[in-house]
Symmetry: C2
Subunit: 252 residues, 2 copies
């Protein structure tokens, strides 16, 4: 496949500008630095404000620029590498609340239990470097926990957070066979968006994790990570520590 | 955190419409079915054409709708689960070409070799169910292959594809210590977009894989998957086969 053929692809105007801007940002500005305002940029690059705004929107979506009200547009920090795997996540997740309710058809189907079965849904947020980077709904059918003794707490009614911690502690006592994961692009629904402090519709990376114990699905976690600031890392055992990969997509 | 607080998040008009449309699509239409045209939809939902178009664009971006010229807007097939791991990828990748050249600073840095070192870059595409779902640049420093005998082929000059196959065969003979991976959101640059048959700027899932051999980085693969049609799956050993997870984000 020749490059002549590839070069013939039509490129929208804003896209060309986005690439030119990216090069300028990389060579002229440091992380956290404020770039010139829209008026100056449209004059410098000889483009309409609408085209410029589209290119800036695109770079914000890609996590290369950040807009701050009253300050201007800043060069964003590089994405944070966020390890994904039970072993590595450690104490990164903070329980928010827990709802115990009969499963609706869709959730029951995904968990492989009859509709109406009791399911605990623990909501958690993940904080890295002081920023909420992900939110998670962890669904645990009550029957998964039936072998594990219930944890007795004081007589007072439990808060949502205490209930969440109780379910998590019981889940930890299960011997897991393993876990499997899927990653796909999604968009933040209203509630997730609020927890992530982003507008609804913000692109997110959705990680679905199935936990198996005793030969069946014991729990299902649906985690949504901010796509603008996160880079999900999957370490594998047996690997010597190699340097973190720098972005090289435009290097060759 | 109460739901009252979460509900107070402002929701743009198009976003509300997108959620309503999604519900209508799920309940009234099957995969591959043509949905009503823009005029009918804007009348049915009592919204301006501009708002409707924004909601349809959003659903196309999410891979829920597909626009076909001369046909209309169709309900998209569910995303294809694409296994990511050397073991599972098997023969999914098809070599396209190979370029052998001294590494520029950025690539050399990512590979941990001095700038100017000879690096083979194999370009491949991945085809699933008749569709090109991903494109990859696999960077292999020549020094990684120095222990592996060169494969002698006929005297004639090799095509790019033959060179790619020769590099891949030598790489296969290396004993790998392991691999580590990162996944993040990206956008298709012009060349990738052409190979994926999508416009430049299309959202992609970028998978960066580092291969270690003999205690150092032996190769680096940067793969870009179509985010609208792919769901990357990461199996883990020791896991019993559980049913594929259905989308459950809106189930709870």
């Amino acid at each position: 496949m020749g490059t002549a053929q590839l070069a013939a692809v039509p490129e929208p105007k804003y896209w060309h500008l986005r690439t030119v801007l990216l090069r300028a940002i990389d060579s002229e500005f440091a992380t956290g630095q404020v770039i010139p305002n829209e008026r100056e940029l449209s004059a410098r690059f000889g483009v309409a404000r609408a085209t410029l705004r589209q290119a800036l929107d695109q770079l914000e979506l890609e996590g290369r620029l950040v807009r701050r009200r009253g300050i201007g547009t800043l060069v964003a920090a590089p994405r944070v590498g966020v390890p994904v795997s039970r072993r590595e996540e450690g104490e990164a997740w903070q329980p928010v609340d827990c709802v115990t309710a009969p499963a609706a058809d869709k959730l029951a189907g995904a968990l492989g239990v009859p509709a109406g079965e009791l399911v605990h849904t623990v909501r958690r947020v993940r904080v890295e470097q002081g920023q909420t980077v992900a939110t998670e709904s962890l669904h645990v059918p009550d029957r998964s926990l039936e072998q594990v003794p219930e944890i007795r707490l004081s007589g007072a009614a439990l808060t949502g957070e205490e209930q969440a911690r109780a379910v998590l502690r019981r889940l930890e006592r299960l011997t897991m066979d393993g876990e499997s994961r899927a990653v796909e692009l999604g968009v933040a629904e209203a509630e997730e968006a609020a927890l992530l402090q982003r507008p609804p519709g913000t692109p997110v990376l959705v990680v679905t994790t199935q936990f198996a114990a005793g030969g069946r699905l014991a729990a299902l976690a649906v985690s949504t990570y901010r796509a603008d600031t996160c880079r999900l890392t999957f370490g594998e055992t047996g690997l010597v520590e190699v340097r973190p990969a720098a972005p090289v997509r435009t290097a060759s």
